[in-house]
Amino acid sequence: KFNVGPKWPTKNLTYHIASYPKFLRREDVDVEIERAFAVWSEVTDLTFTKKSSKKVDIEIRFEVGDHGDDDSFDGRGKILAHAFLPTDGDVHFDDAELWTIGIGPKNSTNLFVVAAHEFGHSLGLRHSNYYTALMGPLYREYDSNFKLHEDEKAGIQSLYGSKTTTTQPKVPLDDSICTNPKMDTVFQSDQGETIFFKGDKFYKVTDGSVVRGYPKLISERWPGLPSNIDAALTLNKFTIFFKGNLLWCYLGREMLFGFPQSISFNFYFIPDHLDAVLYKGGNEIFFFKGSQFWAYPNPNQPLAPTMISPGMINQHWKGVPDNLDAAFMDSYGYTHLFKGDEYYRIDPMKFNVDLDQDAYPKPIGPIWLGCK
């Protein structure tokens, strides 16, 4: 039920952020604006390039009250932003709003949600009468599991076609990772992405290669999180990072108040300086260190561990070595355990290494990162 207006004659668009909101860091705004454009470039061949000059397709401004386009803003609440159809395309945000990133305080307005909506207008979409869809006219709360509604996907693809460039470049942009693919940790994010951490950078990986534009700085996406993380997992939308004797808890991009906290304060009996942590979607979280592992009940269960004393990895996880680097379970239920430049795959129904005809371990670089 989408309705569309005029469209751009090209798929490669440029944008400039002419003014920023008063209360957000510039670099945070840049990331959210890039993410909002990505909502549309992920389902079409549209590309959006940020420019520092004013001569661009889409100009983005944060203004208050009368800002010269005979469409004044009205203070906190009510109208949050507006945009112009192609080929004007400019977007204006009402800077009287309390703009936030991720889940913000009451009466705040999430920048990503509103920006993605207004960019839909900039590209030629009008309001959808699926009022819960992104292009519905009313503001909708931020949902870290945000997905584009089929109606607006059909809308934008009716203007610019479906995405054809599905194959990502096989070799990552800086292939230094290929010479030494040893990871700090690997986990699935709250948005279902497969993320590799190494030093102060993170790689988003899909279809056996690094997504274009990565690596990025960890601190860009998880403000306040240090480098060289030991282990990470996502549980009930919260992503928990472990380093040394501390743990950090994030919801989306926001670190929860009161963190970091000590590991022992949250998980009795679990040691510091972990090698890896694994959540398999059941009632237990597995912690690995050296030759041992601990099976710990899901925090929603009583805190006492199911195993008082740790188990030996080689006794329970046949074929899996000691001193792991990382462990995570993918969305197909396979568990992947990483050590050095190799990884092992565990059959969803068993505890031992997947013994199919291709013997494990396999090299990380060519299979996960698109290395030659």
């Binding site: 507006h82 945009a83 159809l85 207008h121 009008r126 006219p137 503001y139």
Partner: protein, 79 residues
């Protein structure tokens, strides 16, 4: 015109449910309320509300929500 009604009217005008021609209150269809009711029904339908044509509490709640400043209904290049 009680305040809620005039506010509702300007909301419906602003977002394209009431056409410019029915702007003045002495417009017959406005005076007998039919264009206002028709606009209200369009708004209710667009928002997935029960289409009553009445300015009921749920409709006014929706009209008070934060939203995008782009019009919902009119087809002009610069909405």
């Amino acid at each position: 015109v009680p305040i809620p009604l005039s506010q509702a009217k300007s909301y419906l005008e602003q977002y394209g449910y009431l056409t410019a021609s029915s702007k003045s209150l002495d417009d017959t269809s406005m005076r007998d309320g039919s264009s206002f009711v028709r606009a209200l029904r369009e708004f209710q339908e667009f928002m997935g509300l029960e289409v009553t044509g009445d300015l009921d509490a749920e409709t006014m709640r929706f009209m008070s929500m934060s939203r995008c400043g782009v019009r919902d209904r009119l087809d002009t290049d610069r909405l």
